[in-house]
Amino acid sequence: MQIDRRLFIHFDWALLGIVLAIASIGILNLYSTTAKIEMSGTPLYLKQIFWLLIGLAVMVAIAFIEYRFYSDFAYIIYSIAFFLLIVVLGYGIITSGVQRWVKIGSLSFQPSEFVKISFILALAKFFHQPPHQKGYSLKQLPLPFFLLLLPMGLILKQPDLGTAIILVLVFFSILIFVKIRWSSLLTIGLAGGAVVPLLWNFLKEYQKKRILTFFNPDLDPLGAGYHLIQSKIAVGSGGIIGKGFMKGTQSKLGFLPEQQTDFIFSALGEEWGLIGSLFVIGLYLALILWGLRIAVQAKDRFSAILAFGVVAMLFWHVFINIGMVLGMMPVVGIPLPLLSYGGSFIISTLIGVGLLLNVSMRRYLF
C-alpha cells in the first residue's frame, strides 16, 4: 500500500502529544500507587508500559489504514466483536463469578472493550446516510437499536454494568450528534424511563447495593459505602498541593479498593492535590475539545460520526469515573482512560485515538 506523503504533513502531533502526556502521568501514578503493595510477578506499572507500547503500535496501524476501509467493513468488524463476546459467555474464564475475559495463549482480553469501538464503527456506517429534512425519526432507527441491544444483553449478563452504561450513553450522544427529531428523542426518553425499573431487577445484588449506597452511604459503611468514603478522604486529604509523589497513605495502606483500576484518580488527587488533579483534568478537557474539533472538521459524514463517537466514549469514561471517585456518582465500575490499569482497556482507548488521528490527518485529502 502506498502511503500519501501528505499524511505525514497533516499528522496530528498535538493529539498525540496530549495522549502521551496523559499516558506518562498514568504510568508514574501507577508506579507510585502500587510500589508498596506486595505482589508476586511483574510490577503493574511495567505491565502497563508493555500494554501501552502494544497499544501505541496498534494505534499507529489503525491511523494509517484509510478509513474507507473501516466504512466498508464496519458491520463485519461489529459481528466479529459480537462473536467474541458470545465466546466469553460460553467459554470465558470464570473469575470470581464475573466472566469478562477471553484467554488466548497467556494473554487474556475483554471483548466488551472492543465491542465499544466496533459499535461506534457500525453506528457511523449506519448514519452516514443523511436523514430527511427534520432529522432521523424512530421509524428509521430499528437497526441502531438492534446494534445496541444485542451486545448490551450479553454485557449485562456478564455482568459488566459499567460497559453497558457507556454503550447507552455513546448511543444517545451519537443520536443527538447526527440530529434525531426532538419528538423521537422524547419518546425514547419516556420509554427508557419506563424500562429502567424493569432493568433494576436484572442487576446483581452487589450492583444494586452500590447504587443504593451512593444515595445513602450509611447503608453499607463496610462495603461499597466504605469505598466511597475512603475515596473522598483520599482525594480531599491531598488538599491544594497534595502529599507528594509516593507519599499517599490512603492508597498505599490498602484503604482503597481497586485502587489501580477504577479508583486510580483518588491516588492522583491524594498525591498531587488540586493542582495536579486540575492539570490532568485539563489534559482530558483538551483531548475532548480537540477531538470534537476533528469531528466537525471531518470531510464526510462517516468520519465525522466515527470521530465523534470516539470522543463521546472518552468523555463519558472520564466524566463518570472522576465523578464516581469524587462521590458525585454511583460506583459502577468504569475505568479512567490511560490512567487506570488494564490491558484491554488501554488498547481499546488507543484504538479510539488511532481512529481520531486517522480522521484528523485525512481532513484535507480527497
Binding site: 474507507r68 466504512s71 466498508d72 470470581s96 463469578g97 464475573v98 446516510q129 443523511p130 436523514p131 432529522g135 450528534f177 440530529k179 446483581k204 445484588e205 452487589y206 450509611d218 447503608l219 453499607d220 459503611p221 463496610l222 459505602g225 466504605y226 468514603i229 475512603q230 473522598k232 478522604i233 483520599a234 482525594v235 480531599g236 486529604s237 491531598g238 488538599g239 491544594i240 497513605t249 490512603q250 495502606l253 484503604f255 488527587g269 492535590g273 488540586l274 486540575l278 483534568i281 482530558y284 475532548i288 475539545l289 470534537l292 469531528a295 466537525v296 471531518a298 464526510d300 459524514r301 462517516f302 465525522a304 465523534f308 468523555f315 466524566f319 465523578g323 469524587l326 462521590g327 458525585m328
Partner: protein
C-alpha cells in the same frame, strides 16, 4: 470502495457549540467538586487520613434459631466477649501486649503468633486474640481499658446448642468461612473469619439462617482510642427454622442407643416429615462453634466409627432380610408365586455347587409366603428369587426408591446400589450369575441401602405405595414470626404395586412382630399393633463350618449389623421407623427394642418393662 457521503455536514457544525457548552459545564462540575473536597473540606479530610482514623468494626447478625416442631429451641445464640488488638497501635505502645497477655493468661509469644497468622489483613484491622472470655477477665480488661490503646473488647453472637450432641448430624455445625466459600459468595459477601454453615441443616439453610451483618465506622485518635462513630448499620437477624423433629422423641431415640453405634430415622409416613434422626456416635456441634482445636478435629476424623457421618443418609449397608419385602412383592406382582405357593426349607438350599444356608439350622419345612416373612425363612426367598430373576427384583427395589438418593435436603446423601444384570455388565464387564440372585433376594451381595432408603421402603408399604419426600424443615419464619417459607408434604411417586399385594405383605409384616415365632417379637406392643421386619447385614462372609455360638467371641468389627424397620399403628400408620445398629448382631435383639421405645414414646404409650431374654439361647435370638 463505496463513495463516502458528504451531505448535510452542516448539521454537525450546528450542534458543535452546544457540545462545547455541555463539555464545559461537565468539567466545571468536576472542578467545583474537587474544590469542595480539596480546599473547603481538605483539612478535615486530611486529618481523617493522617492517622487512618477510621476503623471498621463488624457487627455480625444473630443467626436464625433452630426449633423443633413444637417450637422448642434447639440452637440459638448467646453473647460472647471477644478480645481484639490492633497491631498497628501496638507498635506505638508495646507495653499493651504484655499487659493484656497477663490479664488473659497468655504469653507474649502466643499473642504474637495469633497476629502473625493473619497474613492478608487490611491495615488497622483488629486481630482476634481470645474469644469467649469469662467475667473476671472481662472486668479486668474493661477497668483498665483507658491504659490499653489498641485493645478492643466486643460482644459477638455465638452459636449455642443447649442439648449438646442431640440431633447433631441433623443440625450440623458451623465453621469459619474458607477461601473457596469467600470466592463463591460474590453476591452475598462474607467477611474473613465469618461463621458459615458447614454441615447439616446449618449448611443447607445457610441463606435463611445467616441474616444481614451490620457494622460501624468509628473514628479513633492517634492512639487508637475511639472518638466517635461515623456510620452505623444495624445487623438484621437471620430467619428461624422450624424443624420437623420432636425434641422428646429425638431424646428418647438417642438414649435408647446407649453406647451402641448406628442410625435411626423415624418419619410420619403420610407426610414424609422426619420425626427423629439419630446417628451414633455423635459429636458436639459446640466444639465447632468455638473453633475446633486441631487435636479435637483429628480425633473426630480418625475415629473408626465415623462420628462426623450422618449414617442415616451417608451410611450404605446390605439391607439383609428387610429386603425380603421387595423379593416378596416382586414374586407376587410378577405372578411367579401366590401367597400359597409352597417351598421347602431344609435349613439350606443347594444351588450350583454351594449350600446357601437358612438361619434356622433345622429348616422351616414346607412354608408359604406369610410364614416365610414372619419367620424370615432364607430358603424360601432363595427359591422365589430364582423364579423371579434379578432384574424384576431390581425393578421393584427401584419402585420403592432404592438405588437412588431420596432427595432429602441434607448434604452428602448417598445413593446406595441396586444391582441388575445390566448394572453388573457395565460395572464389572461380566454377566450376572444366577447364584448371585440368591444373595440378592435376601438383601446381601451387591445390594446396598442407606437407613433412609429402607425407611422409605417401609413407609411406602405402610402408606399403600405412596412415597413422600423426606423433609427435615417444616417452615421458615422471620424474627417477627411471619411465615416466609413452608415445606408442605411432597408426594414423590406411587410405587407401581397392586393394593392386594401390599395387603398381603402388610399382614405378613404384622405377623413378623405379633405371631408366635415372629422374628420381630421384641417390638410387640400391647396397646397397638406394630408391623415390621428384622434384618442382618453381613459384614464378612461366614465360613461354612461356622458355629453360631462363636459369634459372641468374634471381634466387634466383624460382627453383623442389625436392622429393624417398622410402622405403627398397623391400621392407621402414624410413625415409620428404620433402625440400624452397627455390629449389633441381630435385628430382634439389638435393633427392635430401640424402635419399640421410640414408637411407645411417639404414640404416648406406657413404657413396657424391659424384656427378659431367656438364659438359654433360643433360636429366635439368632433370627435373621
Amino acid at each position: 470502495m463505496m463513495e463516502l457521503n458528504t451531505q448535510r455536514m452542516e448539521d454537525f457544525k450546528g450542534i458543535y457549540k452546544y457540545l462545547l457548552v455541555f463539555v464545559g459545564v461537565a468539567f466545571f462540575l468536576i472542578f467545583i467538586r474537587l474544590w469542595f473536597l480539596q480546599v473547603i473540606k481538605g483539612s478535615e479530610l486530611r486529618r481523617l487520613s493522617e492517622n487512618n482514623c477510621i476503623r471498621l468494626r463488624e457487627n455480625p447478625a444473630d443467626r436464625g434459631m433452630l426449633l423443633d416442631r413444637k417450637g422448642r429451641i434447639l440452637a440459638h445464640n448467646r453473647p460472647s466477649f471477644e478480645v481484639y488488638l490492633v497491631p498497628e497501635d501496638l507498635k506505638i505502645n508495646p507495653g499493651v501486649l504484655i499487659k493484656v497477655g497477663a490479664m488473659l493468661n497468655m504469653t507474649q509469644g502466643e499473642i504474637e503468633e495469633k497476629i502473625k497468622a493473619q497474613k492478608r489483613r487490611a491495615p488497622f484491622k483488629p486481630v482476634k486474640i481470645k474469644s469467649d472470655i469469662d467475667w473476671n477477665e472481662l472486668a479486668l480488661l474493661e477497668s483498665n481499658r483507658v491504659h490499653l490503646p489498641g485493645l478492643i473488647v466486643d460482644v459477638r453472637p455465638r452459636r449455642a446448642y443447649d442439648y449438646g450432641d442431640l440431633a447433631s448430624h441433623l443440625i450440623g455445625y458451623l465453621g469459619e468461612v474458607d477461601e473457596k466459600e469467600l470466592k463463591q459468595s460474590r453476591e452475598a459477601p462474607y467477611r474473613m473469619g465469618a461463621q458459615i454453615g458447614k454441615y447439616g441443616v446449618e449448611y443447607r439453610w445457610e441463606n435463611d439462617l445467616r441474616g444481614v451483618d451490620g457494622g460501624r465506622q468509628i473514628e479513633v485518635d492517634a492512639l487508637g482510642r475511639e472518638i466517635r462513630p461515623i456510620g452505623i448499620v444495624e445487623p438484621f437477624p437471620g430467619n428461624n427454622l422450624f424443624l420437623t423433629i420432636d425434641l422428646d422423641l429425638q431424646r428418647t431415640a438417642e438414649e435408647a442407643y446407649q453406647d451402641k453405634n448406628g442410625a435411626l430415622i423415624a418419619m410420619d409416613p403420610k407426610t414424609g416429615y422426619i420425626l427423629a434422626m439419630v446417628s451414633k456416635p455423635s459429636f458436639e456441634p459446640d466444639t465447632f462453634a468455638r473453633n475446633i482445636l486441631p487435636e479435637e478435629w483429628k480425633s473426630l476424623v480418625e475415629n473408626p466409627y465415623h462420628p462426623l457421618q450422618n449414617k442415616g443418609i451417608q451410611g450404605q449397608y446390605p439391607a439383609g432380610s428387610v429386603f425380603k419385602i421387595i423379593t416378596a412383592i416382586a414374586g407376587l406382582e410378577s405372578g411367579m408365586i401366590t401367597p400359597d405357593t409352597p417351598f421347602t426349607c431344609t435349613g439350606a438350599f443347594h444351588y450350583g455347587n454351594r449350600d446357601f444356608r437358612c438361619w434356622k439350622e433345622g429348616g422351616h419345612g414346607a412354608i408359604s409366603l406369610h410364614r416365610a416373612i414372619v419367620e424370615s425363612c432364607d430358603s424360601y426367598f432363595y427359591q422365589v428369587g430364582l423364579k423371579v430373576g434379578v432384574d424384576l427384583i431390581a425393578h421393584y427395589a427401584n419402585e420403592f426408591g432404592l438405588g437412588r438418593a431420596t432427595g432429602i435436603s441434607l448434604p452428602h446423601e448417598k445413593q446406595g446400589t441396586v444391582p441388575s444384570s445390566s448394572w453388573k455388565k457395565k460395572r464389572f464387564g461380566v454377566p450376572w450369575y444366577s447364584g448371585e440372585t440368591l444373595s440378592f433376594s435376601v438383601g446381601q451381595g451387591y445390594l446396598n441401602a442407606t437407613p433412609l432408603q429402607l425407611l422409605m421402603l417401609i413407609s411406602g408399604v405402610a402408606n399403600a405405595g405412596k412415597l413422600y419426600l423426606p423433609q427435615v424443615v417444616e417452615k421458615v419464619e422471620d424474627i417477627y414470626g411471619r411465615k416466609l417459607k413452608e415445606y408442605p408434604p411432597v408426594e414423590l411417586r406411587r410405587a407401581d404395586v397392586s393394593e392386594k399385594t401390599l395387603q398381603i405383605v402388610q399382614e405378613a409384616l404384622r405377623g413378623a412382630i405379633n405371631d408366635p415365632h415372629g422374628t420381630g417379637w421384641t417390638c410387640a406392643l400391647k396397646e397397638v399393633k406394630v408391623a415390621g421386619k428384622t434384618g442382618t447385614a453381613q459384614v464378612v462372609r461366614m465360613p461354612e463350618n461356622f458355629k453360631k455360638e462363636d459369634r459372641n467371641r468374634m471381634p466387634l468389627k466383624f460382627r453383623d449389623h442389625a436392622w429393624f424397620v417398622a410402622y405403627a399403628p398397623f391400621e392407621d400408620p402414624r410413625i415409620s421407623i428404620a433402625v440400624l445398629v452397627e455390629h449389633g448382631g441381630f435385628g430382634a435383639s439389638a435393633a427392635a427394642p430401640i424402635a419399640k421405645k421410640v414408637i411407645e414414646k411417639y404414640l404416648n404409650l406406657n413404657p413396657s418393662p424391659p424384656l427378659k431374654m431367656t438364659e438359654k439361647q433360643s433360636d429366635l435370638d439368632y433370627a435373621d
